[in-house]
Symmetry: C2
Subunit: 220 residues, 2 copies
């Protein structure tokens, strides 16, 4: 049986530096992707790079991105054969790393970089499943508690798929890596953690007060 | 006198959709850049896009990115003439937008996209100023309270510059945009704010307890 616990490193997914921070562990990659809300999708247009923030969803080893049928990357993926070369990156910033030396200042972060070819999804069943995954990525459980897309909305929406094959994670944790000879310098050194959380949900104008806050929001 | 309060829109910085969310206001662009820690830097390598998270600093209308002299984009910027075509994007995710319809689910966000040519900085004075800006971007005031880079560290560090010329911000705020005919559906609708903050600073192992937490960290 092939080893499915890790992705296979490629020339593009082995970093030129800080190799000890790289990981190909499938479980870690999936967890980092599921924790994010927005990815940065890169593609090439007229020879120049374009990087746009966008929502995404994951089903197994497949990522989905959606948008208006008029949006550039989605149109380009649908019109290109065999698809659109993309790089999709998700990054979590966890802390500010203050070293005694300016040189060793850093950031604690966890990121995933996916290289591949994005294809337009045309199968209606896969499109619906992907759109549910996109909604459930924003709030798990939400796709069952909202009106599904109607024919007009589906026709206005393009979905592209990117398989997780050429993918790596990169993680920096822990304190600063100061030079031993800097140990007695009089500068504070350590990590300032960045914390994320949720504020109190804000009901939309006009929401019927009889509609209670759903459980999946109280346990976020 | 030319109007310096806004950047001039270009074909690349006018979005194909949601144009009402786009802004070219210089003050807004600078504020969004200064609020971020990590940008996503896109460039083209062997015809394919690459998107990497990295630190950045800003001085006026100039962005700086640094890294090891061995890192790919920095090496490419130094070796290419007239420089390396890049797209640098910074995104803040502010809230989850839950509509009654799956279609109108969204994210409240504020992003900046910069297109341009990155040039290697070779002037030593500009390199030092840029490195200070990079450290001060992590924690304002920190560059004065750390050991400056020495000759060896400077030699190992490449700095690239990207001018803010072709740049736009995009902002989504507020509640969901549900269809009027969905108003009576029984689904909770509104916004779940995402909040960011700082945890208590964690001193590095071996920090002399006599070194107090600096003021610029207590007021973060």
């Amino acid at each position: 049986m092939p080893d499915t616990s890790s992705y296979t490193p490629s020339e593009r997914t082995v970093p030129t530096r800080s190799r000890e921070r790289a990981s190909y562990d499938r479980e870690l990659v999936h967890a980092l992707l599921d924790e994010g809300y927005v990815c940065h999708l890169g593609f090439v247009r007229d020879g120049a790079p374009v990087v746009l923030p966008t929502l995404y969803g994951r089903i197994g080893d497949r990522l989905y991105v959606h948008g208006s049928t008029g949006s550039r990357p989605l149109r380009m993926a649908g019109q290109s054969d065999p698809g659109l070369a993309v790089c999709l990156t998700v990054t979590h910033v966890d802390g500010l790393v203050l070293a005694r030396s300016a040189f060793h200042h850093s950031i604690n972060y966890r990121s995933v970089v996916v290289h591949g070819i994005a294809h337009e999804v045309v199968d209606e069943e896969e499109r619906r499943t992907a759109l549910d995954a996109l909604v459930d990525h924003v709030v798990p459980g939400r796709s069952c508690d909202s009106r599904p897309a109607n024919a007009k909305e589906l026709a206005a929406t393009a979905v592209i798929r990117l398989d997780l094959e050429e993918v790596s994670a990169k993680v920096r944790t822990g304190g600063p890596n100061d030079e031993p000879e800097d140990a007695s310098l009089p500068h504070w050194t350590g990590v300032v953690p960045l914390v994320r959380g949720y504020g109190a949900p804000i009901p939309a104008d006009g929401l019927d007060p009889a509609v209670a806050l759903p459980d999946y929001l109280t346990t976020l």
